[in-house]
Amino acid sequence: MPMATNNEAPLLEIRNLRAKVEGREILKGIDLTIPAGEVHAVMGPNGSGKSTLSYVLAGRDGYEITDGTVLYRGRDLLALKPEERACDGIFLAFQYPVEIPGVTGFNFLKTAVNSVRRHRGESELDAMQFLKLVRKKAADLGVGEEMLKRAVNSGFSGGEKKRYEALQMALLEPRLMILDETDSGLDIDALKVVAEGVTRMRSPERGMLVITHYQRILDYILPDRVHVLAHGQIAQSGGPELAHELERTGYAQYAGQAA
């Protein structure tokens, strides 16, 4: 069942979040609030905890939450299984989309869409209905039908994988989209296609967390707020201009802080 939500609450509210991986503390008290309708960028150097943050929000195994809370639409997100989070509207676009040999994209996407629809109390789509839906969305993102017949992500180029992630996002219609280093491994043309797809999904109900090392992607997905993540904490927050500033100055100024 869809969880009871508080529409007054921010879409995502992270308070003092601390998390360990294999006994080592990576997130050291994160505070971050994303109201519905906004796009927030989290930038930071390698090893600052960016990917850990995205995995913790998506519910991946192997991360020990030692303190703090995460409220998603007013509800305790950390109590939910990954699939429950997904069904409730959290989507993670993976930095490294996973290959699943033998499983056709068509089958995978149909199963995913129907899982989410079931959760929302909607009827499942049959193969014909799904084909109609996926064709339309795939065309927008330049994902050929031939790609849907291939095994999920198997033998895809970097650009194909990211477009495939964007296609899944479009099909699942999430509320909170987390983009983990979506620009990595993308040439500029592919980046434009993916960014346009993502931008099309912006709406007053949806929020977005764009995790990136480089400012480049933010030229195409314009953020409302930019946060700098360093040593497991938000070191600085500001408007879109902060991203440009970082592009000039680099992350050196955050070195050694908050160890």
């Binding site: 192997g62 699939e83 069904c87 993670l92 290959e99 499983v103 089958n107 995978f108 995913a112 899982s115």
Partner: protein, 482 residues
């Protein structure tokens, strides 16, 4: 570190065996244990001709001097052959003459199993020869088949009604001296199915037998014989379940197929015998000999098996490619979970010229299970132009299971072309998380991934059963993954 995903997958494995109910029916049983008297009892019960009793006794005397094969990668406590009943028939006054006379409890059992026995059989277009313990209780769809001259009946009935056919072909593919378990079967087999398709006839429906072991301590020794005469075609499906019991039950069946010139036999098995509990207690010991003879020119035999059950599976459906241009195929999915052990594969014996064979084997191993592919491709000197292609893939789920491959290749003709490909892979935590992040439960994700892995094999199953098999693949692995 321990992870939720794995735990969930493991708990899936522990889900209850759905077919573990026991039907309470009074049974007509032979005295416990194995002796010439037991064999005479069985033979007399079935009003068998003298030649068949003699054949059984010859097998029995030979069996006494045989030893159990030890080469398979399986382990089990010694089997006490004297501690089993070799004949168990549901007690009815004179044997059912029509469906109305069949014990309603039996029909209920079949209903639980989902066997389309009554009118449902006709709707489904499936002719079912149902074997309940040792005796065939009902055969449906007989009339339609009779019109075409197709014989589809229990082995016991065939012995009486078509003694010449039975005598000509019984043991002609798997002789009574073949191997320990086949010899035992020859001595004590109780029932099974018999199919004969006359020349040029294309059997218009899938023929199906549903085997089920019910009575406790009963070995099931059915014997199936299928003959496709020149230019004939038949597709046969065998499905198996057994109730849940703590003790192990022995199942030692023999299946013989004979394809004459240009005939084609498709034999599909969905085996879902009780696999034992999550600690490896109980379950069926499945020691089965299945072999087909492509005796005629351009004949074709194809085995498709989905093996998800049994504590032990020891089974190598094989093809003897005797006729020139004959074709043998083996498509297999073997799934082992918990403490199940499977040692399964095929033998393709190329004798005739331009004979071809294809092997696709998909082994899936989870829990503490061991899964071995054992195969032989043998090309004899006269098999000019023989070709074989073998694809052998293993999928591991978790860190405590094993996958093993033992392919034997022997070629004595330099023109033969033999290819062997093999892969081993694992369902990774990454794959599971990826699928769950898209909204699927662990079970759904595992089922999807495993079905993708098995696709090349499942597509060879008759349409009606492919869907069932896909579900079964998911169910057998519920609780398994890592």
């Amino acid at each position: 570190m321990m992870t939720d995903g794995m735990d969930q997958v493991r708990s899936l494995a522990e889900q209850k065996y759905k077919y573990g109910f026991i039907t309470d029916i009074e049974a007509d049983v032979a005295p416990k244990g194995l002796s010439e008297d037991t064999i005479r009892f069985i033979s007399a019960k079935k009003n068998e001709p003298e030649w068949l009793l003699e054949w059984r006794l010859r097998a029995y005397r030979l069996w006494l001097n045989q030893v159990e094969p030890r080469w398979a990668k399986i382990h089990h406590a010694p089997i006490d052959y004297q501690d089993s009943y070799y004949y168990s028939a549901p007690k009815t006054k004179d044997g059912p003459k029509s469906m109305d006379e069949v014990d309603p409890k039996l029909l209920e059992t079949y209903e639980k199993l989902g066997v389309p026995l009554h009118e449902r059989a006709i709707l489904a277009g499936v002719a079912v020869d149902a074997v309940f313990d040792s005796v065939s209780v009902a055969t449906t769809y007989k009339g339609k088949l009779e019109e075409l001259g197709i014989i589809f009946m229990s082995m016991s009935e065939a012995v009486t009604k078509h003694p010449d056919l039975v005598r000509r072909y019984l043991g002609s593919v798997v002789p009574y001296s073949d191997n320990y378990f086949a010899t035992l079967n020859s001595a004590v087999f109780t029932d099974g199915s018999f199919v004969y398709v006359p020349p040029g006839v294309h059997c218009p429906m899938e023929l199906s037998t549903y085997f089920r072991i019910n009575a406790a301590n009963t070995g099931q020794f059915e014997r199936t014989l299928i003959i496709a005469d020149k230019g004939a075609y038949v597709s046969y499906l065998e499905g198996c379940t057994a109730p849940m019991r703590d003790e192990n039950q022995l199942h030692a069946a023999v299946v013989e197929l004979v394809a004459l010139d240009e005939a084609q036999i498709k034999y599909s098995t969905v085996q879902n015998w009780y696999p034992g509990d999550e600690n490896g207690k109980g379950g069926i010991y499945n020691f089965v000999t299945k072999r087909g003879a492509c005796r005629g020119r351009a004949s074709r035999i194809s085995w498709t098996q989905v093996e998800t059950g049994s504590a032990i599976t020891w089974k190598y459906p094989s093809c003897i490619l005797q006729g020139d241009d004959s074709v043998g195929e083996f498509y297999s999915v073997a799934i082992t979970n918990n403490y199940q052990q499977a040692d399964t594969g095929t033998k393709m014996i190329h004798i005739g010229r331009n004979t071809r064979s294809q092997i696709i084997s998909k082994g899936i191993s989870a829990g503490h299970a061991d899964n071995t592919y054992r195969g032989l491709v043998r090309v004899l000197p006269k098999a000019e132009g023989a070709r074989n292609h073998t694809q052998c893939d293993s999928l591991l789920i978790g860190n405590h299971c094993g996958a093993h491959t033992a392919p034997y290749i022997e070629s004595r003709n330099p023109s033969a072309r033999i290819e062997h490909e093999a892969t081993t892979s694992k369902i990774s935590e990454d794959q599971l998380f990826y699928a769950r992040q898209r909204g699927m439960s662990s079970e759904e994700a595992v089922s999807l991934i495993v079905n993708g892995f098995c696709r090349d094999v499942l597509q060879h199953l008759p349409m009606e059963f492919a869907v069932e098999a896909q579900k079964l693949v998911g169910i057998s692995l519920e609780g398994s993954v890592g």
